[in-house]
Amino acid sequence: MAYDKFNILTSTAVPLPLENVDTDQIIPARFLKATKREGFGDNLFRDWRYNNDNSPKESFVLNNPIYSGKILVGGKNFGSGSSREHAAWAVYDYGFRCVVSSFFADIFRNNCLNVGVLPVQVSAEFSEQIFNAIYDDPNTEIEVNLPNQTITLLSTGAQESFEINSYKKDNMLNGFDDIDYLQSMKSEIESFANGLLL
């Protein structure tokens, strides 16, 4: 899919310091019935964000006006469970461009990279520092620098580097996706398939 190029993102961040946030929480199954990709942001974290009568739950961080920004900071094992790409779409559609966690579930991380959300994995210690910085000052800014593969707390200068493979990095910098690349490989794929038994 087409998505915005990612280069250097400087933003405030929204803290969600829970572990094992699964994709059923990110977007509950009953909202997967659309046949288009847009609009899932309205139901991001639906059951944590709204009461049964659709009134906002004031205690949930997305309903707290002091926290905002394009970066979502989650706890360990973020995005576990279902392979629904709708979870990554919901995160993107809501307006986040980057999710930070000390550990990501595999499929969710992969899905994020395919839809233009940068998953940034940091150490548990740095994750703690980020949460503390946001709680000390919700206006604190974080810089996520994809070319240099660094994440920096601008208030203190604390910095960590993060991993991303060079292929995916190029894709995100340029807003490309895998289908563009695979299309260019088609004749090689076809000759591979011709050699298969089944």
Binding site: E19, D22, D24, N52, S83, F104, N165, I189, L198
Partner: protein
């Protein structure tokens, strides 16, 4: 060089390695369903692409289908729209489509194996994380996102870095009432839901060798719940016997050639794994979960652990118990049960219904329990009738529904109400998974049956 089973299958499907990036990975078999495929087809259309090998993709409707009155039009317009999209897209691109009402319709991970679409050494994907089920046949099978569904449709490939390798060994004799589901829930309780993230698992040891194919499917199905992308078991005579003469299995000489190749699909004696774990069969008892992820499980006779005894954050753990309405040190035996769900790609096969029937036979459904018994496919449904299981469950006060994913993810009307407790043979006990506010206890078909006839959490060994 020595190779693992996983290496052998993976390496033979790499079209090209990209320097510093993922492998271009060829997919033999691709399953699609109504929920995660429509947007992939939209993508194809907007780029003007075709489906490269429509004969390698198979469509079945399962996630949002009703489990009663399937002959009537689907009432929910959004679900009906998705089902129509699956049908229209399949027709337009020449993909085999087993829609609602088709005699081969059922849950994708049930109908694939039972029709012989799945085979050893295959690479199999689907926009569904429980695609890991097919690893039971010695296939590399895993769930993908919708962008990747579009990639497979258009190029039959995805781009994947090769995962690390883990082997889980379990030897010994399983105790009375201990099923493949318990083995899987036990492993997950030891590893946590992130313990195998980044790995592909091979299950080895006589516990798995002695399992039926259906048992192996249950184990591999749950690999994703410990974070693994998938799990696999080396194909053997049990595998070949299961697949022989299935509708889409190879026949005659082609079958013999394939079996000869499949017999080479095992881990070499000196092959290395990045991680190796060993458990003992005798330590496993019937399992039940008490929290809001599949790692929060324990032997049914045990008490809920203290937060301090559990890996992970105390706040997350306490939030989870609060959601469930449980407390540290609570005993699970005797806890109230409102709903029982037998079904899903984890436990919706004939052996699961046989197990359930073995306990409810000659007993009655508890008055306080609403039970949903949902076969994984029409074929399973037919066997239930043929083997007399339908009579046994009817006699005990249960009714059989029609095939589909049903209350496992509650996309259709099979929703557990807020605050109610459901003992479920499915795969996830996440908050709200079975309906907003629902509370799920994951367990085997035996534990589900014991709960269904007693109305409370009950050790099935007392009823066997």
């Amino acid at each position: 060089m020595s190779k693992t089973l996983f290496d052998k299958v993976w390496d033979s499907h790499v079209v090209r390695k990209i320097e510093g990036g993922p492998d271009i990975f060829f997919i033999d078999r691709h399953f699609i369903h109504e929920v995660t495929s429509p947007v992939a087809f939209l993508g194809l259309k907007s780029r003007g692409l075709k489906v490269l090998y429509p004969e390698r993709t198979f469509a079945t409707a399962d996630h949002n289908t009703p489990t009663i009155n399937q002959h009537l039009p689907v009432e929910d317009p959004l679900s009906a729209n998705q089902l129509k999209a699956l049908e229209d897209n399949s027709n337009e691109y020449g993909i085999s489509h087993w829609g609602l009402g088709h005699q081969k319709n059922g849950i994708v991970h049930v109908v694939g194996p039972e029709n012989g679409i799945t085979f050893p050494g295959a690479t199999i994907v689907c926009g569904d994380s429980h695609t890991s089920t097919h690893g039971a046949f010695g296939a590399i099978a895993f769930g993908i996102g919708t962008s990747e569904v579009e990639m497979v449709l258009s190029t039959q490939c995805i781009m994947q870095p090769k995962p690390k390798k883990m082997r889980i060994n379990i030897n010994g004799q399983l105790g009375k009432g201990v099923t493949p589901k318990d083995v899987a829930l036990y492993i997950i309780s030891k590893l946590t839901t992130s313990g195998a993230t980044g790995y592909f698992v091979e299950y080895a040891g006589d516990v798995f060798e002695n399992m039926t194919m259906e048992g192996r499917m249950t184990v591999c199905n749950l690999s994703i719940e410990m974070g693994a992308r998938g799990g696999m078991i080396a194909p053997d005579e049990t595998t070949f016997a299961y697949l022989k003469d299935k509708p889409l299995s190879l026949k005659g000489e082609a079958w013999d050639t394939a079996v000869a190749h499949w017999k080479t699909l095992k881990t070499d004696a000196d092959a290395k794994f990045d991680k190796e774990l060993t458990f003992s069969a005798s330590d496993i008892e019937p399992m039940i979960t008490y929290g809001t992820n599949p790692g929060m499980g324990m032997g049914i006779s045990k008490n809920i652990p203290n937060a301090e005894a559990v890996e992970g954050g105390v706040a997350t753990y306490k939030k989870s118990l609060d959601y469930m309405g449980y407390h540290e040190n609570d005993q699970m035996i005797g806890k109230k049960v409102d709903y029982v769900f037998l079904g899903s790609c984890t436990n919706g096969r004939i052996e699961d219904f046989r197990a359930f029937a073995s306990i409810v036979k000659g007993r009655k459904k508890a008055d306080n329990v609403t039970a949903w018994l949902v076969p994984g496919s029409h074929e399973v449904e037919a066997l239930i009738k043929e083997e007399g299981i339908l009579d046994i469950i009817n006699e005990a006060g249960f009714v059989l529904r029609q095939p589909g994913c049903s209350a496992c993810l509650a996309m259709n009307d099979d929703k557990v109400p807020a605050g109610k407790y459901a003992v479920s043979t499915s795969n996830r006990n996440f908050e709200g998974r079975q309906g907003p506010g629902s509370r799920t206890l994951l367990a085997s078909p035996l534990v589900a049956a014991a709960a269904a006839v007693t109305g409370v959490v009950t050790d099935p060994r007392t009823l066997l």
